[in-house]
Subunit: 346 residues, 2 copies
């Protein structure tokens, strides 16, 4: 239906498109505390805060069934939603799961998918409370909505980082992206070489990060235990750069991030070198890490500085001073995110 | 991927598949009052009850862009979800909207879709609070989740109809299905006859019922005004027969429905005759009416009997006496629902 006179979606990019489509939406209900524009909406249904988030996973865009076991896919589909709940400093409680299935699927395949979905519900202690099932003319469609509980004055938005706050990231970055590169490579080898078997030995860590990622439930529990409420938080689904710029844009601040502080696992680094990819690029733009990126007040620095899972990588500066990335050699460059492009599977 | 040894989805049908996939799910949270198996889940986030429902709409399965204006599609996509909230005797408050868009879409097309979505939000007084946007390799995918507020002891399940309750249906049935037949016919004429223009004049009512249905907000308000709490309720998305059997199965009861009580609009009847379809078949199995089917205690009969929008069509009997349909000529036959088949678009 695209015609010359129409505006192409690529002109706006994903986030531009969302801004465009949700422009001018006015919230009507007292129970809507926070709407479009964060990892989850925040609603108030009584004396507790409710967060709601939803994700759409489409075959060929978000996953490739050639190398994705259905059980892992089901698990991951839940985890990516829970990650959005955790990033609000909330505890996920319920999910709904809608699936559209094409003719090539049998019940047994859906059983595998649901095995993964149910396993994630067990591991993360959430209830599967509903959904929708449909046939699909094309590929597999998975749409999950997660609901969670937050405490008043404790949920964390993207828009509330303040100057001088410490920027922290959890775990390590870029592994899921390198796992994807490996799977794509082995798929090509398999297609072009008759009888070739995928060579995936010794790559367990990055494969798991790609195929069966975990959400950072542990970090939310840890932050609660050490009595730290981040001043802002987001989960890393599109790469560190993109998420950091979301926080800066929404909080109307700038940032300074140091290359030598960015946590990259040795397995990620090794794999990146094999692919002639700069490990830093995987960490900054790779996506699908489902780590948490958050800011804390400087007064909380003592509480986090010795936590092995939390890495301070920089600090918030004023908007006028920009979004700055300091390289290992001490050069200052502008932090940039890639747009809606094939690199970011999302 | 289907292989001889696998169980085909068609063997189970849609509802059998849902039962199968959600078998053995144990609810863990106090805040989960009611999970899988109704129009919406019921959750408790404080002193109010929250209902959650979700629907997946796929191009080629649930809608055909050849004859569905995008604005109407957006409107309908919201309405079908709100209908599920109303059927819980709840008031919708928020929705999330996820869309997957194929390359043939331009921003302008999404603008039209969102115009309809936003219009429905205005008309039904709900907030659009979030969602997800993705590219799709194939057709348009729309996944909407609706949240609403219910009062304790006032929300209505499918599973609580009691013997002797009066069975009621709102508005009239079968119109949306006849609207679909008309659109399909004109599509074929258009395809086979060069230059043919669709002949849709004089069919406004059934076309609107198909393309721009409304959810029965008015009925929920009316029931509240006249102080009637249905003993069970469901919205009619798959046809009266199917929904009635859901109530019977879930409530462990039978029913007796009278053909001469079933409300069918004159426009529906006229169109059905033109197609050589028995109007009753459209009413019983057509689907997409988004009317409400509910039961009330006999003591409430006085309150509803003179309401022009509410039609008593029979009553609940014991399970042992079956699900009975009494024809105009007084014959008693078993009420049957069609399975997951092409007649039922949804």
């Amino acid at each position: 239906m695209t015609d010359k006179k129409y505006k192409e979606i690529a002109e706006l990019g994903e986030f531009g498109l969302i801004d465009h489509l949700t422009e001018g939406i006015k919230l009507k209900h007292k129970s809507t505390i926070h709407g479009v524009g964060d990892d989850a909406a925040v609603l108030n249904y009584g004396n507790k805060m409710l967060v709601v988030t939803t994700d759409l996973l489409l075959e060929g865009i978000h996953f490739n069934l050639i190398y994705t076991p259905l059980k892992h896919l089901g698990y991951k589909a839940v985890v990516v939603n829970l990650s959005d709940v955790y990033s609000m400093n909330a505890i996920p409680k319920q999910i709904t799961v809608s699936i559209g299935v094409s003719g090539k699927f049998a019940v047994d395949h859906l059983d595998e998918l649901y095995e993964g979905i149910k396993l994630a519900c067990e591991v993360y202690n959430v209830d599967l409370v509903g959904g929708d099932t449909s046939s699909s003319l094309t590929g597999l469609v998975i749409s999950i909505t997660a609901l969670g509980e937050a405490t008043k004055n404790k949920f964390t938005l993207r828009s509330t980082a303040k100057k001088n706050d410490i920027i922290c990231v959890t775990g390590n970055l870029g592994a899921a992206y390198m796992g994807l590169q490996l799977l794509e490579r082995e798929k090509e080898v398999f297609k072009s070489t008759k009888g070739a078997q995928p060579n995936l030995e010794g790559y367990d860590y990055i494969l798991q990060r790609q195929l069966k990622p975990e959400a950072r439930k542990d970090i939310i529990e840890l932050l609660n235990d050490i009595n730290v409420i981040p001043t802002s938080m987001i989960d890393i689904s599109d790469g560190l750069s993109s998420e950091m710029l979301h926080i800066c844009k929404n909080s109307d601040v700038g940032c300074k991030i140091f290359q030598n502080k960015i946590p990259i696992d040795l397995n990620t680094e090794k794999m990146a070198r094999e692919f002639n990819i700069e490990p830093l690029i995987a960490a900054l733009n790779g996506g699908e890490d489902y780590e948490l990126l958050f800011t804390v007040n400087v007064t909380d620095f003592e509480k986090i500085k010795n936590q092995p899972l939390i890495h301070p990588i920089g600090h918030i500066i004023s908007k006028e001073n920009g979004t700055v990335f300091i390289t290992e050699s001490g050069h200052s460059i502008e932090l940039q995110a890639q747009g809606w492009n094939p690199l970011k599977k999302k």
